[in-house]
Amino acid sequence: MPDTATMEKMAERLAEAKGEKKEFSGSEILLLSLLKEGVECVFGYPGGAVLPIYDSLYSGSLRHVLARHEQGAIHAADGYARATGRAGVVIATSGPGATNLVTGIANAQMDSIPLVCITGNVAQSLIGTDAFQEADIMGITMPITKHSYFVSDVNDIPRVVKEAFHIATTGRPGPVLIDIPKDVSNAKAPFHYPETVSIRGYQPHCDPHPIQVQRLHQAVREAKKPVILAGGGVVTAGAEEELIAFAEQARIPVTTTLMGLGGFSGEHPLWLGMPGMHGTYAANHALLECDLLIGIGARFDDRVTMGRLDKFATGAKIVHIDIDPAEIGKNVDTFIPIVGDVRKVLQAANRGVPCSQSEEWLQQTAEWKKRYPLKFQDSEESVKPQWVIRHLYETTHGKAIVTTDVGQHQMWVAQYFQFAKPRSFISSGGLGAMGFGFPSALGAQLARPDETVICVTGDGGFQMTNQELAVAALMNIPVKTVIINNRCLGMVRQWQEVFYQERYSEVDLTASPDYVKLAEAYGVKGFRAKTKEEVVQVWKEAMSHPGPVVLDIWVTPEENVYPMVAPGSGLDEMIMGDEKQ
């Protein structure tokens, strides 16, 4: 959301740059390059090695969100990226500033989120001397970045920024690191921003091979029990309409992975729910019994297949559509590989896609959905977490962006909030990083100010990054934070109950702060609810309050996430949760 003043300043600056042979400092060139890339908002935290960059920011030409911890900054940038599809930008200083980004970078890499991470470093004369606040952030992050740059010459900054944004946002997106030593941000050079980008070793495949699309058509025509496994790639590619058209024309039911939630509407009759460890009966049994499995932008990870490939879709031909050729054949053997941008592949596939022979199969999957719906034992005396999520869903009519932390509440949101739109569910999928929910909600809300943004978090995860309440208060970011407070680390507790004979080791969080007072200490409105009536009441108040709100909702601590497939078991060995009764 660039206001006019920003744009004017930017134009002024660029005009200046074009004019006489004026020279700029490296940090000014960096900011001009970011503006050229259309960046409207950066998240960060200053420090010694980025003093020149922050000095350039002082002109106010770029909106900067001052987080209270670099991890908060990068998760916020990540939430911004997930909510928009554009690159999130984060700035941190050398040493500890940079190392505090590591979790956020790994998180973005695992979930293929476009980030440009700018770190300062000590001057090149000091590099390698273990100087104060020196860390080899490029070496540290090499396995968790899509690419990285160390800028040793001020003249390289525009090209590096251009390439970084190109690499971060195209193909399979991911985080790119730009490490700039202090002497380079201080050095002077003229500013010339490249119009085009050409990287010899980076040419993402986009268009599918026509023969592979024909083979897909043939497979669909022959299939009696087809199923689509749609992943985060559908969301990334913006292929939701193409996917609906494909599924409807070919008459194929769809299951969406955690990352794929919202990529296919949870309200569509062909939707089977989420598959895998905490997936629905219908989704898991469709994967077990199908004769054609079409994976679309999904990577067949172990939370979906349970790592038991001997039990996964054993009677099925597998079609795998992915923009990353390395995903194809990595986890499952593929009958028809189709490399390409998911949207382009589906567009090609939708031209002349035949109908499958799925009539009986659709009756079967509908029967499973009906007979084995998600369920929990509701209670009138206490608040069940699943009920809370369903209440949020019903009262917002699903029209909200929901971010989560990691654990039980994350799975309940995935199960009970039927996401109808892409980019409405924002969660740390691959890395499973606690602490992600709250800052990512701030980023998402800044990116989409007109939407309702709800952060559903746990009392564990919230305490990992709750210092960002300061940002919410200061900038009046109206995120509604719902703490599903069970006074323990619920998912770990659940595993200890089921697999470790109820030996509850270090999961008790009863000595936690009073979250209402904590919120108030930051100047944020806080409410507590311990009964259903109170939940209904405080949620109403939260939604009518124009600013940020923290709701501390006390739920029953012994609630477990079901269905569940134990690690090492196949999808056919689902624990439905009602076996005891």
Binding site: M138, G139, F150, G201
Partner: protein, 163 residues
């Protein structure tokens, strides 16, 4: 199965780290890596010797391709190719056995490149198996030090394929 992968990479700082890091992280084993200039300025050729089944080799190649600094990946085991290694070995050799050692070295087309009062240095190039065989013969004399470069390789010209 043993594979020789030839990788054309940008001659950039850290490019070896990127490749080695990737192979390590993905749990691919490395028997040897050698790096040097290539025919094109700005590009280096890395020759990686690794072991794995077909699935693993496909992954190695695809994952390497994802590195921005990697330009081309070729599995030389799929084509006729020439693979060579250089061996330097310092063998214990008093005056009485020097002749004997020279006799061993000769059929391997290796050469003695340095002689000291109690040792000789032998230089040999060739396929790995040949160097292994030479080492076996030299071992009884006592190997004081040795260094091997790892394999480097190029594919043969098409016209000479099968020769």
């Amino acid at each position: 199965m043993r594979h020789i992968i030839s990788v054309l990479v940008n001659d950039q700082p850290r490019v070896l780290a990127r490749v080695a890091n990737l192979l390590g992280r993905r749990n691919f084993n490395i028997e040897s890596i050698s790096v040097g200039e290539s025919e094109e300025p700005g590009l280096s050729r890395m020759v990686i010797v690794t072991n794995g089944d077909e699935r693993m080799m496909e992954q190695v190649s695809k994952q390497l391709h994802k590195l921005v600094d990697v330009i081309k990946v070729q599995d030389l085991s799929e084509h006729p190719s020439v693979a060579r290694e250089l061996l330097l070995v310092k063998v214990e050799a008093g005056p009485s056995v020097r002749h004997e050692i020279s006799g061993i070295v000769e059929p391997f087309r290796a050469s003695v490149v340095d002689v000291g009062p109690h040792s000789m240095m032998v230089q040999a190039t060739g396929e790995r198996s040949k160097l292994d065989a030479l080492l076996e013969l030299l071992r009884p004399y006592g190997i004081k030090e040795m260094a091997r470069t790892g394999v480097t390789a190029l594919s043969r010209s098409v016209a000479r394929a099968g020769v």
